[in-house]
């Protein structure tokens, strides 16, 4: 899962750093991800994992780090 998340971030996150080398708790907005880029990340994650994020998870904190994204994905896939 983490590998896919990092791949999505590398392609859509517009990060100023290498998505494959950042710590899982690094704040993605601190390393360059814009709000618009976070939308692309969300849509790409939905494609990659064949899910749809519910409204309750459409908040900045869901996409603020690799660990947060992983937790969100696990929550969606478990539901």
């Amino acid at each position: 899962m983490d590998e896919t998340i990092r791949s999505v971030l590398a392609e859509h996150g517009r990060l100023a750093v290498d998505a494959n080398s950042i710590d899982e708790t690094t704040d993605l907005f601190d390393v360059g991800m814009t709000s618009h880029a976070s939308v692309n990340v969300m849509l790409a994650l939905e494609d990659a994992f064949d899910i749809e994020f519910p409204e309750s998870m459409l908040k900045k904190s869901t996409f603020e780090s690799i660990a947060a994204i992983r937790a969100g994905l696990l929550q969606v896939t478990a539901g």
């Binding site: 880029a37 692309n40 849509l43």
Partner: protein, 190 residues
Amino acid sequence: MSTVPPTLLGDIDTWISEAFPDVATDADRGARSSLLRVGVDLVAVSDVIESVERFGDRYMHRMFTPHEVGCCRSNSNSADPSIPEYSFESMAARFAAKEATLKVLRPVGPRPKWCDIEVHRTDNGWCDIRLTGRAATMAAEAGIEEWAVSLTHHASMAAAVVIGICRPAVPLRAGGGQCGQLGNRHEGEL
């Protein structure tokens, strides 16, 4: 650290005093300063183009209301009018307005859906902000009763400024008007 020039602060203070005559004066500077909230955002048009190319209708319908999509549609350069073309600059400006509106709403928990915030184009071409769902609820909770928005784009960038006007937090004087009258006071000035 930069500061606002004292003369400008004085002008703003005078304007607020005139616009909100029912709000108590000097002792309530803090309350008056919370009457206005402003948000601004800047979006690269190329980002929107890439999103539309990559995610197509999913991006469009997740981000924009049917009214907004209609406002961004242009068939002027299409050889086939049945194939919609879009002004990506207009889309970028509308995304910027939504993000600027979020900065005014200041969400701390779940954010509103993007489509809860609509940039509505009026018949005369000006735009205003219309809220539904969670965005409308958040605005009501914050006491924001009036909205103003301005969009612009140039070359590769689009921007929006959004202002929310809150109801006065201090008691109104007896016989004073309600906050809703503010809209009437400035009606037609835009």
